[in-house]
Amino acid sequence: MSDVKWGMVVDVDKCSGCQACVIACMAENNIPINLDRDYTENRSIAWIRIERYWEGEYPDVKARFLPVLCQHCGNAPCEPVCPVYATFHNDQGMNIQVYNRCVGTRYCANNCPYHARYFNYRRPTWPETYNNYLNPDVTVRDRGIMEKCSFCVQRINAATRIAKREGNEDAIAGLQTACAQACPTDALVFGNLNNANSEVSQLYDDERSYVLQESIGTQPNIRYLKKIDEHAAEKAHAH
């Protein structure tokens, strides 16, 4: 499957900040439930988060939403600083996190310009009744480990297996990450960038598309589509 290059397009114009993607991601990837304590300590974990910026002065205040997840950079600053290869770049353009190797130096998190990496300060716990709802395809991360958006790698692997078994690419073509699947406004579009007629690769070169913090030259596989709004231009870069 090396001809596959997974990518995503985030249409800031469509995003309504409903947080559905966040919840879907938590359910899919066994992310521990954040208590208020975790938020006050700035230790909450959310592989995809909606950043909310207020614009304008009262009474005409506008809320701007920016979904941020791991950008799966081509030049990922987080990768080379890991002493134990716990994170590296695979041949499908994804930034892989290997939980077993991680020793928790947290250097990758320091070096991630998108704040997309999260550290398990505590051993994750769920209410007793939830234990049976955990996704069997996804590891539960112990304390002391970095974690981040994996582009739902478990789904990708499953789809790849099916595709290989059935000998056609349908499974891969229809593949969705949890967040993209859950997005009611289709603000998140996930797909194979090497497939020219996939929706994502068409939106990818849209004239509205831009890259978060382009000056760092991380060459992400996630692009954003500007808000259609006279303020959008400076907003997208300013914050």
Partner: protein
């Protein structure tokens, strides 16, 4: 010369020791016949002794080369053994390798140097300080050791005595 014996005169201070050296010379002993034991360094040649040249720098160089080779193999091998791309860097990231090679070069140079010092100063001696030794040396006394054949021991002894040796230590045979 297996039948050579050691004899040591213990002197209280520098001048008498220097005098002892002169006496030995006049008694026909050459520089290589006698050696000096002191509790701390003295200016070189203070007792007319001379130190054979050492090859310490060779150890340092050899160590450097060894370390460099090891580091190069280690870095090159580990990166190529399981080529994972990180941060879009080349699999053989030369600047990173240089840093490690630099460190290892110096590490091995230092280790070899210390080995060299110990080896070149004829240490370690399993026998300890040796048969002919006097603990007063470390109290600031100076020992003149004469290594010579049985028959000339007497000559050496009176030379040392004449110079005012406080004490004469003989090799117990």
């Amino acid at each position: 010369m297996a039948d050579n014996k050691d004899i040591m005169g213990v002197f209280a201070d520098t001048d008498t020791a220097a005098e002892g050296a002169r006496q030995l010379k006049s008694a026909g002993f050459v520089q290589d016949d006698y050696d000096v034991l002191t509790g701390n360094p003295y200016p070189e040649g203070a007792f007319g002794e001379h130190v054979k040249p050492n090859r310490l720098f060779v150890f340092a160089l050899a160590g450097g080369f060894v370390g460099f080779a090891i580091a190069f193999l280690f870095t090159a091998a580990t990166q190529t053994a399981f080529p994972l791309v990180t941060g879009g860097k080349p699999i053989l990231a030369i600047p990173a390798m240089m840093i490690i090679m630099y460190e290892m070069t110096l590490l091995f140079a230092m280790i070899f140097t210390v080995t060299g010092v110990i080896f070149e100063s004829r240490l370690p001696r399993p026998s300890g300080a040796g048969p002919v030794y006097d603990t007063r040396i470390t109290l600031g006394y100076i020992g003149l050791i004469v290594t010579t054949s049985e028959d000339r021991l007497e000559k050496a002894e009176e030379a040392l005595k004449a110079a005012g040796a406080e004490d004469i230590v003989r090799e117990s045979s």
